[in-house]
């Protein structure tokens, strides 16, 4: 194993005494061992050029969202002159052109990255806790509670996600909160399954028995001793799902169930440019490229992570 992993540019660039400390066979502390493992994981991840490409895309997305005012010259929501600045082709001052509302497309794509990241973030912090609570409760308590909760989870898993999100968004109405809710409601079941599986592996361990004997309540054991054990695998899965969240959000936005205008969102931008595609191809094309590149980035990162953390595929 060590031969396969201890190659690559990360290892080569590390100062030798750091490398020795990180890769030692006899770590002196838990922190050293943990750092060493993280270092090896990062080295393996960094050796995968596609994964690194994905990481660069994701970091660029975050950078775009943070520094949006610095990389744009126009407001994404204040339109230019409604006649002179309408449907300007790419080039010149508006280097991706303008749309039918005289909005600068580059600005809207850049500010749209904030919308995308917000949706990803909100869906993750809504769906993951729901999944972890349901999964750990079911796994730890067992019995009929387990059966009922897991049946519910299975039922949700067996439902078509996009159509269900569509139905939710249709009933709740368009809007950012409802969009997030609709995606979150359909995203939690896999998390519940993972959390339950992790719970089952730790439920009968000695440290849980010790906690039980010292009188800790089920609630306390769940929160303090079981949920933390589920976090690592859950975080990986949430990362893997992020590309899917982007595509679902864009799809719902495209269908008009997303964020209302004028707030920039890539899916609705594609829909907005669709009717003018024959003469003004750029309105529809660039936001679509943005969706594709970002979801590709998340997929590449997810794939790289999975290769590092789950070496069975190798």
């Amino acid at each position: 194993m060590s031969n396969a992993v201890t190659r690559g540019w990360v290892i080569a660039l590390t100062p030798p005494h750091w490398r020795r400390w990180l890769l030692t066979d006899t770590p002196q502390s838990r922190r050293q061992a943990r750092l060493g493992r993280a270092y090896l994981g990062w080295a393996a991840f960094a050796r995968n050029p596609l994964a690194m490409l994905g990481l660069i895309i994701v970091l660029a997305l975050i950078g775009m969202a943070i520094f949006a005012p610095l990389v744009t010259r126009y407001s994404p929501v204040v339109s230019g002159d409604t006649i002179a600045d309408r449907f300007l082709p790419p080039g010149g001052d508006h280097w991706l052109g303008t749309d039918g509302h005289s909005w600068d497309i580059w600005s809207r794509i850049v500010y749209g990255s904030r919308t995308s990241l917000l949706i990803i973030f909100m869906v993750s912090i809504t769906a993951a806790p729901v999944g972890i609570i349901i999964g750990t409760t079911a796994g730890y308590l067992g019995g009929w509670i387990d059966t009922a909760l897991m049946r519910l989870t299975d039922a949700f898993l067996a439902l078509p996600k996009l159509v269900l999100a569509l139905a939710f968004a249709a009933a709740l109405g368009a809007g950012m909160e409802n969009l997030i809710l609709a995606i979150a409601i359909t995203s939690w079941p896999p998390y519940a399954r993972i959390a339950r599986a992790e719970t089952l592996t730790v439920r009968n361990t000695d440290y849980i028995a010790a906690a039980q004997m010292s009188g800790a309540s089920s609630f306390r054991i769940l929160i303090g001793h079981i949920m933390p054990m589920c976090l690592p695998s859950l975080i990986v899965r949430v990362t893997l799902d992020m590309a899917g969240v982007i595509l679902t959000a864009a799809g719902l936005g495209f269908l008009g169930l997303g964020v209302p205008l004028p707030q920039p969102e890539w899916g609705s931008m594609v829909a907005d440019g669709r009717s003018d595609i024959l003469n003004q191809w750029w309105v529809c094309t660039y936001p679509g490229i943005a969706i594709f590149v970002v979801s590709l980035g998340f997929n590449l990162v997810g794939d790289g992570l999975r290769d590092v953390l789950d070496p069975r595929e190798q």
């Binding site: 596609l50 049946r151 519910l152 299975d154 039922a155 949700f156 067996a158 439902l159 078509p160 996600k161 996009l162 159509v163 269900l164 569509l166 139905a167 939710f168 249709a170 009933a171 709740l172 590309a243 595509l247 864009a250 799809g251 495209f254 269908l255 008009g256 169930l257 899916g267 594609v270 669709r274 595609i277 024959l278 191809w281 529809c284 094309t285 936001p287 679509g288 969706i291 594709f292 979801s295 590709l296 998340f298 997929n299 590449l300 794939d303 595929e313």
Partner: protein, 341 residues
């Protein structure tokens, strides 16, 4: 219990129970969406200016005067009888509407999955055989691009390039304008109906309209199928029986397509069936882009027509088909592969 009843009967019973429980979950979700989420379901049907009598009559008709569990029971009973309500947009029973549009989706998804399998499986095998070569990387990347592509956008781009710019393929719709009223719907599947009428011109027209959307859906499923084929094939090629066959001098082609393929057939079948389910869902966006009058377009049109019964009816039908495909695939897998028992 298994002592008294034959085991196949028990298996069928288990499948039926599993379908019933999941359907119950689906109906619970659609019930919550359609009855509890809208602030006032009556207002969703009537306008704000409706008289008090009309509102009361609508409440009575919707069964809203009953307690919620009773409403849910009545709701299940209605669905069980095939009563999905009346569409507010077409003024027809939702179920009739759905029967009319379903074949279009089925046709599209079926051609899509055929393309996905016919291209995806060989690509996956090639990737496994040439593991880590440049061709393997290209195939993996092509698959990953398919995973990451917003399908609606790719459809628009396809139309822009192949229809508007190059004029190689026809535009949206299932047939050219002049042809649309000339087909008598028998099965609802254009490529079959036109042949039944003996009109080859129309048949080829229908095929040409299918090429772009079906290829798109095919690409979408190819990403998943080729990836799974690759990883299943890789797990077989590591086995000792492959080594034995090689030592004995069995030609490599025979090892791959006969020995290894035979062993991954069952899981591969599962993968293909699952993709078929995804395609039914993926058709929602594709149909919207290609004005393909199927289930997906019906659902999205209903959303914009504020036609909640039609949206929910469509959701129930897509969900039902999806659940059936999933459960049957699962059962088939256990039936065909004794290791899964």
């Amino acid at each position: 219990m298994s002592d008294i009843l034959p085991s196949w009967l028990v298996s069928i019973g288990k499948v039926a129970v599993s379908i019933a429980v999941t359907m119950f979950g689906l109906l619970l979700v659609t019930f919550i969406i359609s009855r509890l989420l809208p602030a006032d379901p009556v207002l969703a049907i009537l306008s704000d200016h409706a008289s008090a009598d009309a509102v009361a009559a609508a409440r009575e008709k919707l069964g809203l005067n009953h307690p919620i569990p009773v409403q849910f029971a009545l709701y299940i009973w209605d669905v069980f009888r095939g009563d999905l309500g009346m569409s507010l947009r077409t003024n027809q029973p939702v179920l009739e509407d759905l029967f009319r549009v379903f074949p279009a989706t089925l046709e599209l998804a079926t051609w899509g999955i055929l393309i996905g399998i016919l291209v995806g499986v060989p690509l996956g095998v090639l990737g496994a055989v040439r593991k880590d070569s440049w061709i393997d990387n290209v195939i993996r990347f092509v698959g990953l691009v398919g995973y990451s592509m917003p399908i609606f956008w790719l459809g628009i781009m396809g139309l822009l390039i192949f229809y508007a710019k190059l004029d190689w393929l026809p535009g949206p719709g299932r047939l050219d304008f002049g042809y649309e009223d000339m087909v008598t719907p028998i099965t609802g599947v254009m490529t079959i109906d036109t042949l039944l009428q003996g009109d080859t011109d129309m048949f080829w027209n229908a095929v040409s309209h299918l090429i772009l959307p079906a290829t798109l859906l095919g690409y979408f499923s190819l990403a998943y199928i080729s990836r799974m084929t690759r990883s299943l094939m890789l797990s077989q090629l590591r086995q000792e029986y492959v080594l034995t066959a090689r030592v004995k001098g069995v030609p490599e082609r025979r090892i791959i397509w006969k020995h290894a393929m035979g062993n991954i057939m069952v899981p591969l079948l599962t993968v293909c069936a699952l993709s078929y389910g995804y395609l039914l869902e993926g058709s929602v966006l594709t149909e919207t882009v290609f004005t393909w009058r199927g289930l997906g377009l019906y659902i999205t049109d209903s959303i914009f027509g504020q036609d909640l019964p039609a949206v929910m009816g469509g959701t129930i039908v897509v969900g039902f088909v999806y659940i059936i495909i999933n459960t049957l695939t699962d059962a088939l897998y256990r039936f065909l592969d004794p290791r899964a028992k």
